[in-house]
Symmetry: C2
Subunit: 242 residues, 2 copies
Amino acid sequence: MPDDEPTSIWMLPERQERSGPGRRPGYSREQITRTAVRIADAEGVEATTMRRIASELATGAMSLYRYVPKRDDLFDLMIDMAMSEIELPDDPSGDWRADLSLVADQTRAAALRHSWLIGLLAGRPTLGPHLLRVHEFALGALDGRGLDIDDITAFVGMLNDYVHSAIRREIGWLEEARRSGLDPERWKRDYIGPYVRQIVESGAYPLFSRSLLESRTAHLPPAERFRHGLDRVLDGIGAHIT
Amino acid sequence: MPDDEPTSIWMLPERQERSGPGRRPGYSREQITRTAVRIADAEGVEATTMRRIASELATGAMSLYRYVPKRDDLFDLMIDMAMSEIELPDDPSGDWRADLSLVADQTRAAALRHSWLIGLLAGRPTLGPHLLRVHEFALGALDGRGLDIDDITAFVGMLNDYVHSAIRREIGWLEEARRSGLDPERWKRDYIGPYVRQIVESGAYPLFSRSLLESRTAHLPPAERFRHGLDRVLDGIGAHIT
DNA sequence: GCCATTCAGGTACGATGTACGCAAACCGAG
DNA sequence: CTCGGTTTGCGTACATCGTACCTGAATGGC
């Protein structure tokens, strides 16, 4: 029975350590994934090509295909490796606000370490084990408080949405700058700066302009900004919990 | 002064109708963008290649570069063309709830017509004129109600986050299915189905499983589901408006 | 009618994911 | 120890992509 049926990589576990005949594997999914993550951290996900990963491992590009069916599957593995860095207790503490804050902060920390994480997550609907673990923990934080499962799912979704978009705002421009090869400061001044100034000076978008010019939170340290918005989301959830 | 400085496409308007010497342009940004949008609607954004667009226009791939600096800029133009379909009054009506609902519904409609829209928007921080128009309208809906500009921005951001993630849930799997070439029904059953079943049957993620099995809203028509969540977001905003 | 200017688009290059096939490494059976 | 089946390592090859460069054709002002 050929295995070329379309199947998630999570259904296709790595070849196990066996005791049959045949040459022993010289690499592993975990090793390949770690290498890919390292490259993506340093140079962005677009530099994470099969050839590049292979050369980092001093092997040929096609060798990787003994361990990973397709490049996209490798992205799933990278996502899950990044999610695995999110440290959570085995069970929610009972303080839902602290538990969800923990999830948010840990997710933010992982996303800042791996600036490609949010982008990849947005691009592919993957359900790796560590993502499921984090999701289950967040759901558990709200369980047993009179909310039905749809409400719980919706609230966790809201939290997720906030975390993702806040992080995107925090690192979105930095990523774009790195991709163009310029240092962020220069990029902001020469690239996005003139356009935004033109928008403001045109006077056609007064409220958008005010949101840039009169913002009081825009110049806060990123972590505080993040907490600001997070508190608001948590307040919204709290309003539905007696 | 050479124009190879990094600059947003919005700062680089199309060559105007002029009266100097030289051959007349045979195409236009608008025409090229419309063709790209049509291809992306039918076959996805990954089929929208320069050669493909050109052949649709019965010309050569390199001719397009007389009108668009890079392919990524063409994506920005596509985004803006899709956003241009969002029909709004010139000014908010005064009923903020109706105004924001209108923005949400129109955005959803545009995103369903152009299933690539949300994905592209997530990938690049673009600020085309029509996106600014819609954003300004949404900001205006909340202006003058005692909220400061940071609150207004945050609430519009929340609304945006909800709309995007709801649409992603609505069409995410369909897109993935189309990309793999299978019809969605078969894909859901043979591809994602077995994996999700395994997750549920493993018993390791009881709340996630319940969110799948016991959900009451999951089987509602998509439009109602969307409105459900939207009402919740609007309630959250309303709680801060006296 | 000449000429500077502009557009059309063919050719070419480097890079990508990955299908295919063969040689080398390995283990168990004889 | 030998041999054969099995599995890995990976070089080669191909289709496809964005796009740099260049030639030739079209155009309007003088």
